[in-house]
């Protein structure tokens, strides 16, 4: 194609610098938001008003920005759970199930300490809270380990296995909190009993302490992948499992390891939302919504190209968009599920933009 004396050609990229990847990501998000305007227009709302309301509520409103931060923590953890296996070339789309089991394990600790009884106000937070956090991580890790073990040992497709585990965990939660399940709320409302006030996740300022996990893990993972032998092994395995074997890397071990660590982090995400976010403090009836949100982790992870630090601003943006989306949905009288639709549009745009990670447009003066 020739434009104004310049010839445009597609060229295969040889290298991709960090700033180039970031530019493509920004462009993809921009295009997705522009495409998404169509839905606002179809619903009879001005896209400019809608986006202004979304951003104003999500990032500048006192109440909304706290919700955004809560969701940011959740999305960041879900993203890490996806990213660690992703660096090893494996697909963990089981963050949802790992997070459910993590949440159940944390509530299991409460249950064991008698937290279900209404008069259990004086549980020792210094004992119970750490145990809940550990249990959540272990629960998630075990769920993840199933997929990692099967993948490593017999090369069982991890996408299908993690997805099956998601559905199993979904029904397991229903079993535990509904129709006479052990964690059922004494009021019998189809949700779990509440976390007693004394052992609710402490707040730093107004933000759940789990933000420390989100920020700390980002640094830790960056260090792991950039500086350590293990991180190198994971990346090498991700590039070529066969070559990694010649380099003395045991594939089974890598596969199990990345899924255990990823699962543990997803378990923490479950702890975060159901036991540390103000206003929730129970496995709510709409727990499937939080499970669905975990799929944002896939998009954040893909946009950040597996980089945990780069995932943080993306998670913050998407957290804000989903919170703000819910807000304008009510305010502008839009249909239910704006945040779901956004998830879909972002994802498919991002897929299309994968192309530009491999190709670029080159402009040459035509002869």
């Amino acid at each position: 194609m020739t434009v104004a004396g310049y010839e445009m050609k597609l060229e295969r990229r040889v290298t991709l610098a960090g700033w180039q990847a970031a530019l493509i990501a920004l462009l993809a998000i921009g295009v997705a938001l522009a495409a998404f305007s169509v839905l606002f227009i179809l619903a009879g709302a001005s896209p400019l008003t809608a986006y202004r309301e979304i951003f104003r509520y999500a990032f500048f409103n006192r109440y909304g920005s706290l919700l955004t931060l809560n969701r940011f923590i959740f999305l960041a953890l879900a993203t890490f759970a996806f990213v660690i296996p992703f660096r090893a070339g494996l697909w963990n789309i089981g963050m949802t199930g790992q997070m459910y089991v993590g949440a159940l394990a944390a509530f299991g600790v409460l249950y064991a300490f008698g937290g279900k009884q209404p008069g259990s106000a004086n549980l020792n937070p210094y004992v119970v809270i750490p145990l809940m956090v550990i249990a959540a991580a272990v629960g998630g890790a075990i769920t993840g380990a199933v997929a990692g073990f099967l993948k490593g040992k017999w090369d069982v497709n991890e996408i299908v296995v993690t997805m099956m585990l998601n559905f199993m965990a979904f029904w397991l939660v229903s079993h535990m909190i509904k129709e006479g399940g052990p964690f059922m709320n004494p009021g019998g409302r189809g949700e779990s009993f509440e976390v007693p006030p004394s052992v609710r996740g402490p707040l730093i300022g107004n933000v759940p302490f789990t933000i420390v996990f989100a920020l700390g893990l980002a640094l830790l993972l960056e260090w792991l992948f950039a500086k350590t032998k293990l991180g190198y092994q994971i990346r090498a395995y991700g590039h070529s499992p066969k070559a990694a074997r010649y380099a003395g890397i045991v594939p089974e071990r890598i596969s199990i390891l990345v899924f255990v660590v990823g699962g543990a982090i997803a378990g923490l995400a479950g702890y975060h939302y159901f036991a540390a976010v103000p206003g929730v403090y129970k496995i709510s009836r709409d727990y499937a919504y939080f499970g669905d949100l975990a799929f944002y982790g896939i998009i954040c992870g893909l946009i950040a190209r597996g980089n945990a630090i780069a995932a943080l601003p993306v998670a913050l943006l998407f957290g804000g968009l989903s919170i703000g989306g819910r807000f304008v949905q009510g305010k502008l009288g839009l249909g239910f599920g704006i945040d779901y639709a956004l998830l879909g549009v972002l994802m498919i745009t991002l897929v299309a933009f994968q192309f530009f990670y491999r190709y670029r447009f080159a402009w040459n003066r035509s002869e």
């Binding site: 099967l150 069982v156 497709n157 029904w171 079993h175 509904k178 399940g181 879909g344």
Partner: protein
Amino acid sequence: MGQFIARSLEAATIFTFAGLGELINQRSGILNVGIEGIMLFGATLGFIVTKTTESYLLGFLAALVVGALLGLLHGFFSITLGVDQVVSGMGVWILGFGLTTYIGSPYTGPLGLERIDTIFGVSPFFYMAVILVLLTWFVLFKTNVGLKVRSVGENPSVAEVSGIRVTRIRYACTTIGGMLAGFAGAVYALFYNPVWNYNFLMGWGFIALALVFFSMWNPLLLSGGALLFGLLWQLSLNPELFLPGIFSRYIWRMVPFAITIVVLVLISTKWFRLRWGAAKPEALGQPYYKD
């Protein structure tokens, strides 16, 4: 009991349509992990069209069209743009899951039309599925077109050299695969369970995907697997028919998924691999660049 078996056959029909679509996809070397998304789209649009026009025919047509378009989209990403096929399939799934939640929510609730008539106790779709299984088997293994599809899935470069249009065949297969997945979704939403609710499929598409691995890419084995899982699915919905009082109904819902994992593990063992390895399309999941 008769009712139970009929329902199982209907469930098997849906697995068969979706699985056949995926099988045709994979035979041409394209993996589509997003069939659940295509099914959701077919189901939702089919449901909306039928509900507004009161015409089943238009609903099924809408499902076929949207399925074909999504299959084409996956083809465009994975064939023309050379995007990782898993990434693209994930995209299709999440697009379907996200967008149908929004599009369909005003239509939440029952369809409110008279059920499609049955023939000898089962829906016409069952007979369509039987014919389609035989037809697919015949075309894939007994005709020239089938040979072309399979050779494209085995080794696209060699196929290209021998004069086969790889890109065209792959596009045709992803489009047909998408149509069948869309149709499967519509059978679910317009006949099997005509009540719309967000993300109502809850894993049908992913089980269909697993069934294709399990079938060794043979339509006849696929239909056998679909029958088994149709039965299992129905059993998990009505455990009281056979084993009353054991476990809560939620625990039973976990069973088909657990069995899917077990089956996947079994077919991944060495004994099975010796046979399976030969059947697997060699170029499955790998992008093909014509140089």
